[in-house]
Subunit: 321 residues, 2 copies
């Protein structure tokens, strides 16, 4: 059977006819219902990770085949995006998301979610509670990435935190922080996107008028090298910068200020899904960050919309064929 | 009264006649007996910190004047090099070494120790126990910087640690780690300097044959941008790089690997003197890293010797005039 898939090849994005994927004994075949465009997808098209294949890693879908766990068939699921080998040092040390042999859905070595079907190991899947709608479920992956900060670092509620960035991930981070009793201040580039954070932050600044004070904790999620420079300016001595941004470009960097001011930098990537699912199932609302939904056939308009300065989240919706 | 001082001006080092310094009511006048050349001194001559004045921040000397604490007069002392304002946010939060108004002996805003006399606030001084000789006492400042790692980070004894660097500071770090039950592996550039670490490390590598394995903790104290690159290659996912190197040059840097591999980077600078003094007073030997002592009049030969690839520590000795 042939299916449609939105694939990247040498920096060109295009819709292709490809065979419907087949799953091995440990994997599940999932019919995608909804998928989200992430900033990483846009960076990948620019060359980040040098990925060639079907793009997309945020999805919710229905399991159609699964020999390993037949109970999953028919269930609505989301999936952790790192597929680990299960037997290396990292895997044996409970770090499957850091398995050096891993592939990553739609990012490295495995075709992604901007297609009618995808395949993932059965143990990567989480059943979505009925109370969580598709437009929230598709945000579980980035919400888990936001919650990873809480896994890595003890953020006490009274610590002043500056969040750099006003994009999709920054919005989810602000909500994860607020839920953890920590109301962050935000510096962003889009007036409307900062305004849309209202109720989830204590203060918003535009880059044109960044805060003058210093912060003991800064979360850099701007997705741009300028965010690093803002962080270095606003961090207190012995402060901690949590780094979420990945981009294809390089920045010039002298480590001396890190040493002299004894700054800690913590790189932070994907997180475990369970806390994110629990949060959505106990009252956290996130789906108001979605601006527009497109049929996958309308992918050019969707990517255009996703890259407009005031856009937060754009989704693909798949019709059951 | 006129004294001799080794001063840096626009990147030129030279011996000058300058007035003997005068101390205010909170300061002490110290006659320098011994001073050490640090890698930072060499970087300062290259332009680091853009410092103009008398160089030198590692010293041991005798207090000659001290209105604030007359009991110090005649005592042999070492001194913490950061002079804080005492009333800013950092000072009130017990971070005087990070006071934004601070001066730093021989590094920023205060004439240093390569002179017959220096002046420091009385509360910066620590009396040296009789059991600790001058050649060990002059190493208290860099040993405190080595111990700062233990202040910042819990290093469990069974954690494999890679130390990058084989210079003066790296030698002191290796000893501080060993004393903390943590036998590090070392990658260095000089065969003789790595060999001289014997008894204080578990394994030594030369840059030509760096270790193939990965480490959960890396201490980067090479003083060179190549050390950063070695660290990024050898760090485990979710590992910690403790950054000690400061240099005047810039490196090109893409933060994505920090984020993807969730690396923590901890900048580490000066440490409190007390643990270092206690260690020297309870059996830690460090003075065998000293290669040669010079009279201050022979400063050109001393700086030449200090920059030879196989040299560790070079000292200045001052004759009582």
């Amino acid at each position: 059977m042939i299916m449609r898939a939105l694939r990247v090849k040498n920096g060109e994005l295009g819709m292709k006819d490809v065979p419907k994927p087949e799953c091995n004994e440990n994997e599940a075949l999932i019919r995608v219902e909804t998928a989200g465009i992430c900033a990483t997808d846009i960076e990948i098209v620019k060359g980040y990770m040098n990925f060639q294949g079907t793009l997309g890693h945020e999805f919710v879908g229905i399991v159609e085949e699964c020999d390993a766990m037949p109970g999953l068939i028919g269930q609505r699921v989301v999936g952790e995006i790192n597929s680990a080998c299960g037997h290396c040092d990292a895997c044996r040390n409970d770090l499957p998301r850091h398995c050096p042999n891993r592939d990553v859905l739609g990012i490295s070595g495995r075709d992604g979610a901007f297609a009618e079907y995808l395949v993932l190991p059965a143990w990567n899947l989480h059943v979505v509670p009925d109370e969580v709608n598709n437009n929230s479920a598709v945000l579980i992956e980035p919400l888990a990435a936001a919650c990873e900060i809480l896994e890595q670092f003890h953020l006490s509620p009274s610590t002043p935190v500056l969040l750099i960035g006003d994009g999709k991930l920054a919005h989810l981070i602000a909500r994860a922080m607020t839920r953890s009793f920590c109301l962050v201040e935000v510096v962003g580039r889009s007036e409307s996107k900062v305004r849309r954070m209202k109720g989830h932050i204590s203060k918003g600044y535009l880059n044109a008028s960044p805060p003058g004070q210093k912060y003991p904790v800064i979360i850099e999620a701007s997705g741009s090298p300028s965010g690093w420079r803002t962080a270095m300016k606003a961090i207190q001595p012995q402060g901690t910068i949590i780094l979420k941004s990945t981009y294809s470009s390089t920045l010039k960097f002298n480590p001396a200020p890190l040493v002299v001011n004894e700054i800690t930098v913590i790189g932070s990537r994907c997180g475990p899904f369970k806390p994110a699912i629990t949060a959505l199932n106990t009252g956290l609302k996130v789906d108001d960050i979605i601006d527009e939904e497109f049929d996958i056939s309308n992918w050019e308009a969707a990517f255009k919309k996703a890259q407009e300065p005031d856009t937060l989240k754009v989704l693909f919706r798949f019709q059951k064929s």
